[in-house]
């Protein structure tokens, strides 16, 4: 049960990290995150099945598409919003989510599909009587590697620092010569790239226009649990969520398996409103 929980949690972790990246710089919970990954996944399917591209070309092209899509949405939509409140931003991202899902449904139809992938999603290895599929192992590996890379990027790289500075004080960052608009655009690009890996790792099983809704919600929940600004927090929250869901489904009630995740979040937020891993953030007036 715990191993299954960790496996399920890896997808939530990827989505959670993607949401945290945007939140860290712009304080916007991006509800279009799932559908950005959805669009990239279907784009990859098109490259693989319709254009006949090999994996080593299709996947890098997908990553570039994801970055481009993220940057485009920030540049063409978010930046154009005139002095929006956080609520306004949320509504914009929900609108984007619906538009992207509509476009994918229109272009690719609603029939379920599956994406060709170098490894079979149904092969597994047995460790002491516990089965874990090779795709789950890959997802776990990708989630942990991305977490480490992103942690190092935000902590030690110049670009990462500039992004953090943009979030903490937009005006001061600008005065220090940081091109804040460009930083925001890049943040959306990186976030879209991280999110798309979740989509690409779900797609070898089944693909349909609705497939990213659940991982996005769970990823968001994990990020909230972890404190919304902490990458390790989002990952930790995601694994806790996956494990509790599975344990509850296995031993208590399978009907309420999905609901329990949100009950825990409500409890966490009641006891520790800023999340498990975040320091209380007080904005100076």
């Amino acid at each position: 049960m715990i191993v299954s929980g960790i496996a399920a949690g890896s997808t939530y972790a990827l989505m959670g990290m993607a949401m945290v990246i945007i939140y860290k710089t712009s304080e916007v919970p991006n509800f279009a995150q799932g559908e950005m990954a959805l669009a990239t996944s279907f784009f990859t399917l098109m490259l693989l099945e319709q254009r006949g591209l090999p994996y080593h070309l299709a996947f890098p092209a997908a990553f570039l598409f994801a970055i481009g899509l993220g940057c485009l949405l920030e540049f063409a939509v978010l930046r154009r919003a005139k002095e929006p409140s956080v609520l306004g931003f949320i509504v914009i991202t929900i609108g984007l989510e619906m538009i992207l899902m509509g476009l994918v449904s229109w272009k690719f139809g609603a029939d379920p599909k599956t994406m060709p992938f170098p490894i079979s999603p149904y092969d597994s290895i047995a460790i002491g009587g516990v089965f874990i599929s090779s795709l789950e192992l890959l997802t776990l590996f990708v989630a942990l590697v991305l977490m480490i890379i992103l942690f190092i990027f935000f902590r030690f790289s110049k670009l990462g620092m500039a992004m953090k500075a943009t979030q903490q004080n937009h005006t001061a960052a600008r005065l220090m010569g940081i091109r804040t608009n460009r930083m925001l655009m890049l943040t959306w690009g990186i976030s879209s790239l991280v999110g798309c890996t979740a989509g690409l790792l779900i797609s070898p099983i089944t693909m349909q226009p609705y497939m990213m809704w659940d991982p996005m919600l769970k990823g968001f929940a994990a990020a909230v649990m972890g404190g919304m600004t902490s990458l390790p927090g989002a990952v930790f929250g995601a694994y806790i969520l996956g494990i509790i869901e599975n344990l509850f489904g296995g031993y208590v009630s399978i009907e309420f398996k999905s609901v329990i995740a949100f009950i825990i979040i409500v409890l966490v937020l009641c006891i520790r409103p800023s999340g498990l891993f975040s320091r209380h953030y007080v904005k100076k007036v």
Binding site: M1, S4, A7, A8, M101, G102, S105, G109, A110, D111, P112, K113, T114, S120, P121, Y122, D123, S124, A126, F131, S133, I205, T206, Q208, P209, Y210, M211, D214, P215, E245, N246, G249, G250, I254, E255, K257, S258
Partner: protein
């Protein structure tokens, strides 16, 4: 005298104007048109079944291209309800009270259908072929409701009978969608097993929004069944079979007609659907049934959208509308709802793309005999390339035990 003249004049006026007034026409019927409505999910999680409503639309296009029915063209009103009962209700009311619909046909889903059943029945509007095998269409009995889709309980009977009698299976488990569709199946399986002195060894509910099937498969595997019935949608079915393969659990899978689109199931399961046994309510897509050949050529090739696949759910939209079209033809020019009901009741052993369909004059005490049109299914096994092997012929089932 003066009074008499006035009365005579008034009577003459009433007579003259009375003659020139048109006879009160039926709602949704004009001299040249018949308005038929249907809802169907074109967006949202149930959108794969949206092809049903599109199939009906293309079928009506073929009929109109051939001159319509008794000089009237069908005006088809289809709307996307996203499988959301609130939207279904709003859409049906809007069309019924705005445009004026003569009769409703098909309409995907039990929950959306239930949202409008009472409204349509109270207004005495005929509704032919709701697209689900729920008991709600005959319980309680409704004079204006003509279900065609065989009951899910019949699917259960057919599958259990075959698995016990032909395959010798004894330990059965079920994974069922936790709604009316799944619960109808669960009830059918329980009752069918009882007949053989057997019981389910595991009953695992699946919520529509569940994405990870590992806990479900763990429960199934723990009970060590030799046959598992799948009363879920195609995506959940593929995930359950796939997760089971990863967990080295390989029972005989038995599935409902909802997952009988083998080419699709084989594709999305990457070949794992091979060997699955399913019940089905329609002729096979590549069979040499003359009607399949005709509709493929006359409906799908001529009127379907570019990316529309010739799959079982696309032509289920035709299958569910065939009895309505036949009854409309039999009505002649004198088209009223009561006449349509009478003509539908006159259909005996009508053979379209599905099993034979019969209705009888309404008897509230025998809704299955008088109102449930489709009572036959047959079983198929999935082979390589999504081909189907016929395991049984069309078989009649009574839903009562």
């Amino acid at each position: 005298m003066k009074n008499k003249v006035v009365w005579l004049l008034a009577a003459a006026m009433v007579f003259i104007f009375g003659l020139s007034l048109p006879v009160a026409a039926e709602v949704g019927v004009t001299d040249t048109e018949i308005h038929i409505g249907q809802w169907g999910p074109q967006t949202g999680p149930a959108a794969p079944w949206g092809s049903i409503a599109r199939g009906t639309g293309d079928y009506f296009k073929m009929i109109n291209a051939a001159g319509g029915i008794n000089g009237r063209k069908i005006v088809y009103h289809m709307f996307d309800d996203g499988y959301n009962p609130a939207k279904t209700k709003a859409g049906v009311k809007e069309l019924q009270e705005g445009v004026g619909i003569f009769s409703w046909v098909a309409g995907v889903g039990t929950a959306p259908g239930l949202a409008v059943r009472d409204y349509l029945m109270e207004k005495k509007i005929p509704w032919v072929g709701p697209c689900s095998g729920s008991l709600h269409w005959i319980n309680p009995a409704n004079r204006y409701l003509f279900p065609i889709y065989p009951l899910y309980i019949i699917d259960a009977k057919a599958l259990v009978k075959y698995a016990v009698e032909k395959l010798g299976k004894k330990r059965f488990a079920i994974a069922f969608q936790n709604d009316d569709y799944g619960k109808n199946g669960l009830r059918g399986v329980r009752e069918s097993l009882k007949k053989y002195g057997l019981e389910l060894v595991a009953e695992v509910p699946v919520e529509i929004k569940d994405a990870d099937m590992k806990p479900h498969v763990m429960k199934l595997r723990k009970a060590k069944p030799d046959a598992v019935l799948l009363w879920v949608g195609p995506v959940h079915a593929v995930k359950i079979v796939g997760t089971s393969k990863a967990m080295r659990f390989a029972p005989q899978w038995l599935s409902t007609s909802a997952c009988s689109d083998f080419p699709l199931m084989m594709h999305i399961s990457k070949g794992l659907w091979k060997g699955v046994i399913a019940s089905t309510f329609a002729s096979l897509p590549d069979s040499n049934d003359p009607l399949i050949t005709k509709y493929k050529k006359e409906v799908h090739e001529k009127f379907a959208a570019k990316n529309e696949r010739w799959g079982i759910f696309y032509y289920a939209g035709i299958l569910l509308a065939e009895p309505l079209v036949e009854a409309l033809k039999r009505c002649g020019r004198d088209l009223t709802r009561e006449r349509l009901v009478t003509e539908l009741e006159g259909l005996t052993d009508f053979k379209g793309l599905g099993g034979t369909i019969s209705f009888k004059p309404f008897d509230a005490k025998d809704p299955y005999g008088t109102r449930q049109g489709g009572k036959e299914v047959f079983l198929i096994e999935c082979l390589d390339g999504g081909k189907a092997k016929k395991l049984t012929d069309w078989t009649y089932f009574d839903y009562r035990w």
